[in-house]
């Protein structure tokens, strides 16, 4: 075992090899000079003296080698030599090096970016204390499949559960009016139990965070408190620590600021920072209700997260909670629920799942599968790039076979040669990986910005590569480098020195054969990729061309006013609504204006059970329909034709008889072939809800989700809806935002800042499809390019190898065009072989992405025909330059150069 001192000295010596070598050379020279002089003094002739001195010394080379071995680490020295040699070689072939580097950068970079995104969205643990012990509770009811916990349920659970050491609850967000004391703005407000920050290990950036003693229910605390989000604090208080202690108003209710959360705190979600967090007990104050009303509220709106006690597993917890759940549910049943509504509530199911990676269901549902598919395609590109590089490296090694032969003859070990080639490969792939990583950082940022473009909340989602992703990238790059240099390395070690020194036709064709197999493999993989990418792209264009039944163009504008603090106090919607729409209609450029309580083009959220009046079992036999409360003129504004009956009018006001308009499909479903106009129906679970009279039928329309075939829609007058004020304006025409803003705000109840076109909303709804198609196009083009490079490289090599033969043939009078044709057909035949195999594999691979396809079968004939054709065309083009070169072979020089 080498002593530590020596080890340290050897490490230090690594950095001073140049100086050390020079010193040794000088010492040896001086030694020999002194020895020579001594010998002369003893009477020898100068030449003899020198020779004798050398003899006494022994081998200078040997000494230097032994010295070097003792000085550093032999393996590292060898590695350094290999690296220097590799760099020299790459400098001599800039074209190859550039192509290889760019290929690797794109392939590895793309994989890193997508994996990083996927990792951040799906795999990464929350950045809180001990995320693996966190468990979340959610519910689902027959009418509401994605639901949370109500406050009475939370109270009962806290009392009866035995598996959690602590129980937290989170509510968020609501966009509310905030008066910071200096300005009026909106803020995304969340509410949390007092133990949340402490339990998650979060420390304040200023002041303090919520504590368990804040705002108890009984007795109700004096003044409510709030915690500022970090970005909100920066933006509206300029990071002033004096903000702590100030009073702000949320929807006119005063709150005292007690502290600021740290940057990037997103509670259990992944994306958005709350602007303000208040204690859970203060939540009703935001709606203008009393704190005590919390104990009887029935809304399922709290995310409950518990920390498992040590030793308790998720399954244990689930078992215990399931046993107490029926009692919890029973205790939380609001006393005024009756009939179907009661049944619906009592059918609520509890879900107990791990919260380690956070709660971000909607984002994950949208993006997980597309990202996995795109990652698979990216992995395929990397594989293709490796095969491509392997074939290029093979040609490169064949060109150096003479030099390899010399080295073998001089006694280099095969392992040393192989190690040299592996080093070359890994060096290239690590360089490409480093560049790719930089590109990936930029790409992740761009993708994140793209995905969260229209978010109103403060987005802090960070998809940049973290340590785990970087480690995976380095490992992948190293593995890739080994993979594509293993074939040339293996071939180099197989041959004897004599073989390598010969430029024999045998070795030439052997390398050629390996090259052909590699290129054929590459073509096969490329076809698989092209076919898969092709169907995904076709899917997007099909979605875009689906007749949605509405006008998804720039002609329809959607504007979102929001109510000022106390703006709707004492409002009489029956007069306010018509006045508001009248003022907007008077603006120049507005052809039609209406309002809706749901944003067309995306989402859609009100589902109600509808049944003809007299149907008792509405829970079982009611038709689940999409309900949209709208103002008069809505159908004209979005372009839905009225088929029968009439549109809503302003006389369908809050005090008038309840009416409804049905879509054609719903009318048919409820009433069969009978006349639907004039029929009455029930909507909703409360038996005491008034009946609705059908006054009109409209065409089916994919109002929200273009891909969904659910066309069962019921429309009700906005004035007859209790939530009438949460509206968005729907305008047909073109009007500047400032004019619209002035008109809306002139009534003094609402503000307006945002307006988008229906086309924009529809495009945003297709975001995951667009991303998938975008990546597919990019990778498809890259695959074609790589295929072209591969075929080009192979044909160039082949022509080079057979230069002599071609020269002879031309000398004997062969037609130049014939030679060209042969080269092209050679290249095309390799491509065909690969394409045949690839086609068979592609038939299977397209099935794997079936879930992402819309309106396109996996075995889409257009794609399955276009992809191979494109490959063959590219291959033929790639053969053009080598073919021309073959045709121009001068017999004299070809025969001479041997």
């Amino acid at each position: 075992m080498m002593p530590l001192r020596r080890f340290a000295a050897r490490i230090a010596a690594l950095f001073r090899t140049g100086a050390s070598d020079a010193r040794l050379a000088e010492e040896i020279a001086e030694h020999l000079a002194l020895a020579t002089e001594d010998n002369i003094a003893r009477g020898m002739a100068p030449d003899e003296a020198r020779a004798a001195a050398r003899r006494s010394f022994g081998g200078v080379l040997r000494t230097t080698e032994t010295y070097r071995e003792a000085r550093g680490f032999a393996a590292l020295d060898g590695l350094r030599q290999d690296v220097r040699y590799a760099l020299r070689g790459y400098r001599k072939t800039p074209a190859f090096t550039l192509v290889a580097l760019v290929t690797l950068t794109l392939a590895i970079g793309a994989n890193t970016a997508i994996f990083s995104l996927l990792h951040a969205l799906v795999l990464r643990d929350l950045n809180v204390r001990d995320p693996r012990s966190l468990v979340q509770l959610t519910t689902s009811t027959p009418t509401s499949p994605d639901s949370l916990i109500s406050y009475p349920m939370l109270q009962r659970l806290a009392r009866d559960q035995q598996v959690f050491s602590s129980l937290m609850a989170w509510w968020g967000f609501a966009g509310l009016n905030v008066d910071t004391g200096g300005e009026q703005t909106t803020g995304m407000v969340a509410a949390a139990t007092g133990n949340l920050y402490d339990e998650l290990g979060i420390r304040p950036a200023a002041g303090r965070l919520l504590e368990p003693s804040d705002m108890t229910l009984d007795p109700p605390a004096a003044q409510p408190i709030a915690v500022l989000g970090h970005t909100f604090w920066q933006r509206h208080f300029h990071g002033d620590p004096g903000a702590v202690g100030r009073t702000i108003r949320i929807e006119t209710v005063p709150f005292t600021v007690v502290g600021v959360a740290p940057p990037g705190f997103t509670a259990f979600g992944l994306t958005a920072e709350p602007d303000l967090t208040v204690p859970l007990a203060a939540r009703p104050l935001l709606n203008g209700r009393s704190i005590a009303s919390l104990t009887t509220s029935a809304t399922l709106s709290y995310l409950v997260v518990g920390r498992l006690k040590p030793g308790i597993t998720l399954d244990n917890a689930r078992a215990q909670l399931m046993t107490i759940w029926p009692a919890v549910r029973e205790a939380a049943l609001p006393p005024d629920y009756a009939g179907a509504r009661r049944d619906d509530f009592l059918a609520t199911r509890l879900s107990v799942t791990s919260a380690a990676t956070g709660n971000e269901t909607s984002l994950r549902t949208r993006f997980t599968r597309p990202l996995v598919v795109v990652l698979a395609i990216a992995g395929l590109i990397l594989t293709i790039a490796c095969v491509n590089l392997a074939s290029l490296m093979l040609s490169r090694a064949a060109a150096r076979s003479h030099e390899i032969g010399v080295r073998l003859a001089l006694g280099a070990s095969r392992w040393r040669l192989a190690r040299q080639m592996l080093t070359e490969g890994v060096l290239l792939s690590l360089a490409g990986g480093a560049a790719g990583m930089l590109g990936a950082v930029w790409a992740c940022r761009a993708l994140t910005a793209f995905i969260f473009e229209e978010y109103l909340a403060t987005v802090t989602f960070d998809a940049s590569p973290d340590l785990r992703v970087i480690a995976v990238t380095i490992a992948t790059a190293t593995l890739a480098g080994i993979v594509f240099s293993v074939v040339p390395a293996w071939r180099a070690t197989r041959r004897s020195a004599a073989e390598a020194l010969q430029q024999s036709a045998r070795t030439g064709t052997a390398a050629g054969r390996a090259g052909r197999i590699l290129v054929a493999t590459q073509v096969a993989l490329s076809l698989v990729l092209l076919a898969t990418a092709g169907v995904l792209v076709r899917s997007l264009s099909t979605v875009r061309s689906v007749a949605s039944g509405i006008e998804r163009s720039d002609d329809v504008l959607i504007a979102y006013p929001w109510g000022r603090a106390g703006g709707f106090d004492g409002v009489d919607n029956d007069t306010y609504y018509p006045e508001l729409l009248r003022r907007v209609a008077a603006l120049q450029g507005v052809r039609t204006v209406s309002a809706s309580l749901l944003k067309p083009g995306t989402g859609g959220a009100f589902r109600e059970l509808v049944a003809p009046i007299g149907e008792p079992a509405i829970l079982e036999r009611g038709v689940s329909s999409q309900k949209t409360p709208v103002a008069p003129g809505f159908f004209a504004a979005v372009g839905i034709p009225i088929v029968k009956g009439r549109d809503f009018s302003w006389s369908d006001r809050s005090s008038a008889q309840r009416v409804a308009i049905l879509s054609e499909s719903l009318a048919r479903r409820l009433f069969g072939g009978r006349e639907a106009i004039g029929q009455r129906l029930r909507m909703g679970l409360q038996p005491q809800d008034p009946a609705l009279e059908v006054i009109g039928i409209v065409s089916d329309a994919r109002l929200y989700n273009v891909k969904s075939a659910n066309l069962l829609a019921i429309y009700t007058p906005a004035l007859q809806d209790p939530q009438a004020n949460y509206k968005c304006l729907v305008i047909r025409g073109a009007v500047p935002l400032r004019d619209l803003k002035r008109a809306v705000e002139s009534l003094g109840r609402e503000n307006l800042d945002r307006m988008v076109t229906l086309r924009y909303i529809s495009e945003r709804a297709l975001l995951q499809d667009r991303l998938t198609a975008m990546f597919s196009t990019f990778f498809g083009a890259l695959a074609l390019l790589l295929a072209a490079i591969g075929v080009y490289g192979l044909m160039s090599y082949t022509v080079e190898q057979r230069r002599r033969e071609i020269g002879i043939r031309v000398a004997l009078g062969a037609d130049a065009r014939r030679v060209m044709r042969e080269v092209v057909s050679d290249g095309v035949s390799v491509t065909l072989a690969g394409a045949a195999i690839g086609f068979a594999a592609a038939l299977g691979s397209v099935q794997l992405v079936q879930a992402l396809l819309f309106g396109v079968t996996p075995h889409d004939p257009v794609t399955l025909a276009a992809a191979p054709l494109a490959l063959l065309l590219i291959a033929a083009l790639a053969c053009a330059v080598p073919a021309l070169r073959a045709a121009r072979v001068d017999p004299m020089t070809a025969l001479r150069a041997e």
Binding site: R5, I28, A33, G58, T63, A70
Partner: protein, 115 residues
């Protein structure tokens, strides 16, 4: 050269270098080589080149130090000298060597002592 003999040789070479430097003070590489040949009565024919890796190892261990100086002919030469740690090592190795030779000698003495 078989491995064990090389090790022994290198070990003894190190010892000889240390002893030489201990006795004679700073010497350059050629000087050490000549001195070793002299002391051994010219019975030791070493390849003088083997000195330099040995000197390197001794320097790495911190038993000798080196610096540039002027040689006999006013040219630049590297002079080596023993350090305090080197002197300690020399004393320890000398003792080991003496003990080893003593043991071997006992075996090689005439058998009359083993009765």
């Amino acid at each position: 050269m078989p491995a064990d003999r090389a090790d022994v040789f290198h070990g003894t070479l190190a010892l000889m270098i240390l002893k030489t430097l201990d006795g004679l003070g700073p010497l350059h590489g050629y000087g050490i080589a000549r001195r070793i040949e002299q002391i051994s009565g010219n019975q030791l024919e070493l390849n003088q080149g083997t000195l330099y890796p040995a000197l390197l190892k001794l320097e790495q261990m911190g038993w000798i130090g080196s610096k540039w100086g002027a040689s006999e002919n006013n040219r630049r030469a590297r002079y080596y000298s023993i350090t305090r740690a080197g002197r300690k090592q020399l004393a320890a190795e000398t003792e080991n060597w003496a003990r080893a030779t003593d043991i071997v000698e006992r075996f090689l003495r005439p058998s009359e002592d083993l009765a």
